[in-house]
Symmetry: none
Subunit: 195 residues, 4 copies
């Protein structure tokens, strides 16, 4: 990796958690300057403007989270284990796997009516998550773990939506009580469809 690319990557890594925590609008280039200990000019050598940096930070946050998630899931031996791992992975909203919480929720709600580029990135992230879950379910159906009449795509949506909603509650309430309800409910639904 060339020196330039290295610095660029360094900036992204420092910027990503700040953007995910404070939001794009509330994060200033000075915030990132301070976090990286780099000069103001240096930021603009590597990123055309704040928008470009913010996009890179969004991508980075999603990638980091995705990698961690895949690493966790990859250890699973069965499809059910995969689903349970997914659920457990996101089960602690108070101390989430990514600083600042779920980037899909954070950037999604901010980008919503103001930033079509980021909005589309989040849209893809959401689709990716559902596809991941859907594939696990389909795999489980294929290998005889799950009820063959189960609608994989629909239940993927059920898992994803409940986990996001649970995440919101966790972060607002400061505890995981309701998230526990969510995970328990989801797991028993999975059990019901296990053979």
């Amino acid at each position: 990796m060339a020196k330039g690319e290295e610095t660029r990557q360094f900036i992204i890594e420092k910027a990503a958690p700040i953007f995910n925590t404070k939001g794009i609008a509330a994060t200033s280039m000075s915030d990132i300057m301070e976090a990286t200990k780099l000069s103001k000019g240096s930021m603009y050598v590597h990123f055309e403007n704040k928008e470009v940096l913010a996009c890179a930070a969004v991508d980075h946050n999603m990638k980091i989270l995705g990698d961690k998630l895949l690493a966790a899931i990859s250890k699973s031996k069965t499809a059910k284990e995969e689903l349970f791992t997914y659920i457990d992975f996101f089960s602690n909203g108070v101390n989430p796997p990514l600083t600042g919480g779920c980037p899909l929720l954070n950037f999604g709600t901010e980008a919503d009516d103001t930033n079509p580029v980021v909005k589309e990135k989040i849209n893809q992230g959401i689709k990716y998550n559902q596809k991941l879950l859907e594939n696990s379910i389909k795999k489980g159906i294929a290998n005889g773990e799950f009820n063959p009449n189960w609608n994989a795509a629909d239940f993927a949506t059920v898992i994803f939506t409940m986990m996001e909603g649970g995440h919101l509650i966790s972060r607002m309430s400061g505890n995981n009580d309701k998230m526990k309800v969510v995970t328990t409910t989801l797991k028993s639904m999975i059990e019901e469809n296990s053979l």
Copy 2:
């Protein structure tokens, strides 16, 4: 209503959808100035600072939404109808009942790590929604509509989280396809527990 209170209310009404759409950080006092056609100084006659106005706007958004919701629900004759009405009320994320989408999601994710006052307001709003649903379920159990073994509080959480998650997807994708999955799933769950 005194003149001052009238203007104050007028400002809140104009400001609320802007805050809910752009977010607190990205909304400037000038934005509200423009929307109200009032002078900049006038805003500060009625609100100590932007923070106070933002809080009032958050309250207003939640109140407006709550009132609309209650008005819809109050027409229901049975507990099941109440739950279905709640679900239907929030079933269109693309054209939501409140300009800018769900304020719990919008302000919640923004306030998260930056604004404890707003965060607590959202926390209360979330609790209120779940309680509303829980009460409908309990009422249905009491009057023999629903399975008496149903856990009211837990299913209230299931409804709330899935609806919020579905809302997120709707707004990011620009369509209500996955929201349809959510509402259909929830309604069939309710049917399963109806006697």
Copy 3:
């Protein structure tokens, strides 16, 4: 006294110490509003603008101080006592007879290059003080208390300048040590010219 004049006087009394403490530029109409618990509009009923109020406050400060000074001096039986009383009256710069310290010094240095009206008021106040001292000295010469060759006007200036300089030191240092030097020096000079 008519109601209007009463309120006007009330405002002046509340405003005077604020102006003398913070200075004219740093005192806002809101400061006086708060101190008087009167409405903003009310201030402008009694005073055309801030400048007029500030002038009234300057006058008031000088008058209050002058009255206190005269009251103290009037108790003196001899000319020497009068001079000593003057010196003692101003001998405590840390806890001065007027809140905020000497108005001649305060308003004088502020008005200097910016406010000719106030500047002239202070100029008259300074002249008045020197005349007061000069008259006491002349009286003492006339009644045989003081050396008839003493230059009354010049020593009045000596007293006034040293007291003002001493006042400045007191207020900056937070103690009256150097002021003590000033008063002791002045008193022994007076003794030297006493018969």
Copy 4:
């Protein structure tokens, strides 16, 4: 000198006389912008805020004045000459050696109850002036110029306080008449203690 430091110094030089003339509160950042022909943002590259710039301006005013004073005094051959030079240096309040007049008087009275940092700077400046005079007197005593029973510290205070008081009168009256009384009185006091 680096470019940044150069600009910083340039701003201070332009700002110092403005602050000394109008006072800190009455001087706006825009005033300095105009005087320097620099952009508003540029001021904040070199000074954290107005307070920091004001402090730098206070320091600068005191330093410039001190340097001029020392340059004048350094030409003196005898202790008496030093004292006379000090007196002459400050003898023209109408056209003072520093634009805006004596910074100890100007900033001192303004800082008094509102700005502890500036207040302490002035306090040190006052002490410095008295020490300077005291040292000249002590030198004169040591080399046999002055009466060995003379109290150096006390007479330093007499000179300083009378000169400051005289300065105030000069600036308010617009003439140096009373200052002339002050300087003549001080010089004859010095003569009286000369051997």
